[in-house]
């Protein structure tokens, strides 16, 4: 079977949707030459009328996409750097997201915001290493974080077909991954449907984005002693609470591994919801970046702020010991 890289999956998803729906257009900086690869070949295939190289004006082109969406287009915006989302938070959280409700349902804003390279990029320092998905889930913007190439394809396609704004975080830690898939089997993945990557009976590890692969590795390391279930929510808002509850029915123990800051991060929400509503036989645990972290430049310092396999393994072992 052919190997599909995560980046190629994003690229295929955009191309397939542009082919299928003439309302889909792409906006962003250097999307013509495709510096991130996600838009490779699209300008040649679809022309400058649908693949627009923008000036470095994130706020304007994000608002522009909102207006274009209200007038019938389905824009996808590519952002080169996750921190640019801070610059356009107003345009997404306060405009695009709010327009459906504020107009009493008179309009819809189908814009997709794609971040190919979120999280640490391996020593790109303070302003290039954010992973701000929790912020979007918090304000209620649909937020997805695919972990695998086929999920990247399926979730990006779904995001582009969705009538609401959707932010798609493609973690840089996952961009280089490849998966053995039959291209014909690639299909949309619904929002709000988690995926169990590995079944288990002792503890559920909820892992977000690229950390799914670390969680699977830890589960394999522990296979002889602890039976770990790895649950990938795939979309953080909406979140598959039913899927998580079903997993905790099996295991009763919860560890969340999440590459965003601890306080008010999505990990906190997962733990709180499980504590309020689900079956837990041991205190839930979180492995996250530190509170309020800014990733430092030096490699060792950068890594010191990100969740590690060792930390996850220790948390799983504690969780089981406490049960």
């Amino acid at each position: 079977m052919p190997w599909l890289s995560y980046l190629k999956a994003l690229n295929r998803a955009i191309g397939d949707e542009m082919e299928r729906d003439p309302a889909v257009c792409v906006l962003g900086e250097d999307v013509g030459v495709a510096v991130t690869y996600a838009t490779a070949g699209l300008l040649q295939r679809f022309g400058g009328d649908r693949v627009l190289d923008t000036p470095i004006s994130e706020q304007a082109f994000t608002g522009f996409a909102t207006g274009a969406a209200m007038a019938g287009m389905r824009p996808l915006i590519e952002f080169q750097i996750p921190a640019l989302l801070f610059l356009v938070f107003e345009q997404i959280a306060n405009q695009a997201h709010k327009l459906s409700l504020m107009t009493g349902g008179q309009t819809r804003v189908p814009v997709t915001y794609l971040l190919p390279g979120s999280g640490s990029r391996d020593s790109w320092a303070g302003q290039h290493s954010d992973h701000p998905y929790s912020l979007f889930a918090h304000v209620g913007v649909k937020t997805v974080v695919p972990a695998t190439a086929s999920d990247a394809y399926g979730l990006l396609v779904t995001a582009m077909r969705d009538d609401d704004p959707v932010v798609v975080f493609a973690p840089s830690g996952a961009l280089g991954l490849r998966e053995d898939v039959d291209f014909g089997a690639l299909a949309p993945v619904p929002l709000g449907a988690g995926r169990v990557h590995r079944a288990g009976t002792d503890v559920t590890v909820v892992a977000v984005g690229h950390l799914v692969h670390d969680a699977v590795a830890v589960a394999e390391e522990l296979a002889g002693s602890v039976s770990v279930e790895v649950f990938d929510p795939r979309s953080l808002h909406p979140f598959d609470w039913q899927g998580l509850a079903a997993s905790l029915e099996r295991t009763g123990r919860l560890v969340v591994v999440d590459d965003s800051n601890r306080s008010c991060g999505i990990g906190a929400e997962i733990v709180a919801t499980a504590a309020e509503e689900m079956r837990l036989t041991a205190p839930p645990r979180r492995v996250t970046r530190p509170d309020g972290a800014v990733l430092p430049f030096a490699r060792d310092l950068d890594l010191a702020c990100q969740p590690t396999r060792a930390q996850l393994r220790a948390a799983v072992e504690k969780s089981v010991g406490a049960g």
Binding site: D49, T54, P55, S57, Q59, A60, F61, T62, G63, F64, A65, T66, G67, A68, A69, M70, A71, G72, M73, E90, Q91, N94, Q95, L99, S100, L101, M102, T103, G104, G105, Q106, T107, R108, V109, P110, G140, K142, D162, D163, D164, G192, P238, W241, E276, E277
Partner: protein, 331 residues
Amino acid sequence: MARRPAVTGPAADPAGLYRTVALIRGFEQRAVELVRTGVIRGGIHPCTGQEAVAVGTCAALRPDDVITSTHRGHGHVLAKGADPARMMAELAGRTTGLNKGRGGSMHAADFSVGVLGADAIVGAAVPIATGAAWAMRRAGGDRVALAYFGDGAVSQGVVLEAFNLAALWQVPVVLVCENNGFATSMRPEQTMAGTVTGRAAAFGIPAETVDGMDPQAVLDAATAAVARARSGAGPYLLECVTRRFDAHHTWEHTARPRYRTDAEVAAARSRDPLDIQGARIPAATRAAIDAETAGVLDEAVRFALAGPHPDPAGALDHLYSTGLRPRAGVL
């Protein structure tokens, strides 16, 4: 809620322009009264004195053209043809309002007459109108979008970024700056280096300054600007120099901050668009329009007050166009 609108945008003849100015003036007088009596919550930003801008520009537009508006948007929304009764119901937060009570004064929207919505973040709608104009041109046809913004908004980066996109891509958007001499309490001299038209010049956008107290002068300039955009020649900026007679927001009726003198207010009021346009039509016509307008507005208030309050159980209806239901805050 099928309700036949009482008006459908300003007719471009002298009496039609007067009628729309009178409608906006009377609408806001009644709305201010409803704020005072507590029917309208949250207060409003009246555009009293500035009506000529809304009336003159909207009279240059077709029903299928679109506008984006500001926190001071009543005039724009009414001039584009929204039903005053449903607009008043919106201000009063009723289900019969334009936005079913979900938007209120600062977000009134009526897509059926091309009002994409009023935006309460200064400058934020300028790129939205630009994007809408681009998409409409792409779809074929010759529709244009018009974006209103204040003198305060020209210090917002996003507005200048949008000017660049509009000019670079020759987007059919008409940029209308309502320079009313104040951004809340601050005068352009305190907030603006350069000039409004100078900002347009920097992007190669043709611009002109017009008398924003005179509906006919605004209409003449807007007709040319709209025709230019429609023909594919790209954006145009109109700076309408105008004055608001009333408060920045109705909180000012109680807080009474001092940022302009009584003499300045009196001087502004001496050039009232209602009188400027009223002088162009026979006295009998004016009196007849006034009587008719009063009737329309009485009915608007009656309709607004008769409208049901929304059911709290539906507070987050329309949050997602796809109908996604969010989790409740309390279980």
